[in-house]
Amino acid sequence: MSYGPHTADDRDRMLAALGIGSVEALFEDIPAPMRSAGLELPPPMAELDLARRMSELAGRNRVDLASFLGAGVYRHYIPAAVDEILSRGEFYTAYTPYQPEISQGTLQTIYEYQSLIAELTRLGVVSASHYDGATATAEAALMAIRATGRDRILASRAIHRHYLDATRTYLDRGSLHLEELPTTVDGTTDLDALERALGDRQHPVAGVLLGQPNLFGLLEPMGAAAELAHAAGALFVAVVEPVSLAVLAAPGEYGADIAAGEGQPLGIAPQYGGPYLGLLASTEALMRQVPGRLVGETRDLDGRRAFVMTLRAREQDIRREKAASNICTNQALCALAATVYLATIGPHGLRDVAAMGAARARELEGALAAAGAARVHGAAYLNEFAIRVPDAERVHARLLEQDVLAGLPLGRWYPDDDTLRDALLVCATEVTTSEEIARFAAALREVLR
């Protein structure tokens, strides 16, 4: 199926206007030896056949299990209004609002997004919008490096492994350093180790990164960590989960300079990995270090309020090699999803989502403990926690046979850690049902027998 618009007659008229006989003439600038005759790909498909193929592939995935898998990506109820708005061609078939006069829809929604995330994080400057939680974390680290002129980042090992991996990749240019901070037995970041690391006068630290909740679902001592970081002249970066901010202290409240995180829980489907939304917010002091797009309010010639991309001298199309980041196309539509989600669910709804997840998680904890699997860690959690089972991979596989997706075997990400080798990281949200919890517990009891 071709979406090409031209009739044979159209083509002829255009060729005639160009004074050539065939479109091939327009490709003569490709040196003959490298001119390709065609592609070895399957033949075109009519839309009917394509639709069938796509349904068939989608049908080969299984998304109907009782799932307790979170680990950074969470199933939440997405109000129907979100997709209805996202499906509007005026939004999804536009591009970056380079021409503000005819892009106020996109511009205003980005501005609203900035405002919403600023309120959630209590940090004034929000960049709309990064690729995902991992790259937002990496960009936050780079911001800290630029802002402090230092080259050393300390990051808790209880930050999502992919975020740490990506940050390491982004910092892998010889001159920059990323060190992992250990966790204590209760599962949270070791503040003594942090203090020691910060104490190295030879090598001052640019930024300290902690997750809240951390990867194990646990609540970190963010205030104390921020204080230590600041005392050493380092910036403090909180890697946060946005729904939790409805009930947990906001980064701005405990003194974080930057908040990074994954916006997927705000109305975005899991999609096997993306597109998601990198959250990145900072204090106003860091405004000119912020990578990515910023939209500001202004006026038009007649004094009407309007919105426009601003502080663009940070961006690659203007500053080229001196830009704050190479980011160009990013996640505007996902930011729109978050905007519609937050506007639709509202502050009370968001709190209900967070609190219901916590309630379900406690129910889950109880049921799993009764089935013989206790928690690994002692620290408080919100809606995700690790349980200990003998031979976690086997238990996980056996439960899968019962249509229970028993979270993430943490040994995959911490193969050398004796405590975590036998751990399953499980989560609950407002969409988790008591019936699913009961199924999980029953199946687990069976497997552990």
Partner: protein, 530 residues
């Protein structure tokens, strides 16, 4: 507070008041219109304490008892409170303020704003695709894994490359991935002195920005007068410190790099690798395969070449393809088909030479689904038609626009071409910016302007392969009409746009005193209504 339809707050009302006075004085849809584009208040202005709710059930009262006091939020959660009807109306009305491919011609050069087939949107929303958790075991993800595997193969075929990663989230991230792979390659050979990346002065901004981000020094080489890279300039920039040369082909001037054989030869002779920015592949699909030509690594822009929607600025996806000697460095996990026909993600111990991840999980899979559907719909023959149509449209439009604007470079062009309003400026004071704004009044989205930076008063025009001849002709006529207007009535062009929802904006004060969010709504939070 008094409110207008859809709840215009006082703040907005005073704005609207200002506008109304003006509205009377001049044509254009200023102020409020029953149908069409009308400026909107913000969500904060629409918010009323006590509205909203009903989306999720209420949790038990003790739900948060396990959270220590010092970990709890103290600040009010002062998000806007609205009911669904107001949210929907707000956003539907905002959508009307956007120009989009679904409403008109969008010849934004370098961005390939072509039509996005609706069946792809439908497919990406199928529950089996959309609902799949990124850490789901392979056994649950066979459909998406098969799709990704087939897409890896199709992109390798299209690029004439050996292997592909689908992980990068956009073109720029593809570039970063490629450059980091190049570093890993040099490093693995013990070739550690290479600290420079060369880009032509016509390159897209992401190229030099990427080089910097990857910790390289950027050298910029000038273009020759024909728009291609100056071979001599490149030769003298190259040396033992060159890690890579990044070339865009066809270039951001819309030109196929005619000296490509010679260029690649000098690059490789210097021991550097050749990166190809493949953002413009729609011009050469099925006609030029970078791998065949000798490029070592490249990225694709799925949101351009393979017609996934641009989403108001994203998301896109920027898969990277490379030749065999670079394949060990592709970031993992790749998608693998086992001999038994089952698909799986590569384990991290299978390819320890891989550079680290550039993002979490497997990539913007929702975008990959759309690109896959596009490729399957077209097949190999259809993709070759795509490049024919893209190039034919661009050359035709170039021919027509060239009767009134300067064409700094010779033809044929590929998918886009640069015109310049230098002649207009000299004759009438009308600049490219003014031409662009006046195009809005003629019903069109302006082309990319002042880009590439090397063209004076440049307009980068990309008609794409999905626009009809009627549309191309109408756009050409508007361009010619504006050239005439510049001569006959320059004030009119300088005042443009006058028919858009707003006139030109005060960008300077926006940057001087950035207002990046609503004033906080602190204290307006209300207790939960139930």
């Amino acid at each position: 507070m008094s409110h207008g339809p859809g709840g215009v707050s006082l703040v907005e009302a005073s704005l609207a008041g200002a506008a109304t006075a003006v509205e009377e004085a001049r044509p254009g849809p200023a102020g409020r219109a029953a149908v069409g584009a009308t400026l909107q208040p913000t969500l904060a202005e629409l918010s009323r304490p006590g509205r909203g709710g009903g989306k999720v059930p209420h949790p038990p009262k003790d739900a948060l008892d396990g959270i220590p006091a010092d970990a709890r939020r103290v600040s009010p959660l002062a998000l806007p409170e609205l009911n669904e009807p107001e949210v929907v109306r707000h956003l539907v009305n905002l959508s009307h303020l956007n120009y989009s491919v679904d409403t008109g011609f969008y010849p934004l050069g370098s961005c390939t704003m072509k039509y996005n087939p609706k069946v792809n949107e439908w497919a990406a929303r199928l529950a089996g695709f959309a609902g799949l958790h990124p850490l789901a075991p392979d056994a649950l993800a066979q459909g998406t894994l098969e799709l990704m595997h087939e897409l890896q193969g199709a992109l390798a075929e299209i690029g004439g490359m050996h292997a592909v990663t689908l992980q990068p989230a956009a073109g720029a991230q593809g570039e970063l991935t490629g450059i980091l792979m190049i570093r890993a390659y040099h490093r693995a050979r013990g070739d550690t002195e290479r600290s420079q990346v060369i880009v032509p002065d016509s390159s897209h901004g992401t190229n030099p920005a990427t080089a910097s981000m990857a910790g390289y020094e950027t050298l910029t080489v000038r273009s020759a007068s024909d728009g291609g890279v100056d071979l001599e300039a490149l030769r003298s920039a190259l040396g033992p410190r060159t890690a890579a040369v990044m070339l865009t082909n066809p270039s951001t001037l819309g030109l196929f790099e005619r000296r490509i054989e010679a260029l690649l030869e000098v690059v490789h002779d210097a021991g550097a690798l050749a990166y190809m920015d493949g953002a413009n592949m729609n011009a050469v699909l099925g006609r030029f395969r970078p791998g065949d030509a000798g490029f070592d690594v490249m990225h694709f822009n799925l949101h351009k070449t393979f017609s996934t929607p641009h989403g108001g600025g994203g998301p896109g996806a920027g898969p990277v393809a490379c030749v065999e000697r670079l394949a060990p460095y592709l970031p993992g996990p790749l998608v693998i088909r086992d001999p038994d026909g089952r698909y799986r993600l590569e384990r991290s111990d299978e390819r320890p030479t891989a550079i680290g991840r550039v993002r979490a999980y497997q990539g913007n899979v929702g975008v990959l689904v759309r690109a896959y559907a596009y490729i399957r719909a077209h097949g190999g023959t259809g993709l070759r038609e795509v490049s024919a149509d893209a190039v034919l449209a661009a050359n035709y439009l170039r021919e027509r626009v060239g009767t009134a604007y300067e064409l700094p470079y010779g033809g044929p062009c590929k998918h886009e071409f640069v015109a310049s309003a230098r002649n207009l400026r000299a004759a009438s004071g009308v600049r490219t910016l003014d031409v662009a704004k006046r195009l809005i009044d003629h019903g069109f989205h302006p082309p990319t302007i002042y880009f590439p930076l090397i063209v004076e008063e440049g307009l980068l025009i990309e008609p794409t392969e999905t626009e009809t001849l009627e549309t191309l002709d109408a756009f050409a006529e508007a361009m010619l009409a504006i050239a005439r207007e510049a001569h006959d009535d320059p004030q009119r062009v300088l005042a443009a746009p006058t028919t858009a929802p707003v006139r030109r904006l005060d960008e300077a004060s926006a940057a001087r005193r950035p207002e990046l969010r609503w004033r906080p709504m602190v204290g307006r939070e209300t207790p939960c209504p139930t």
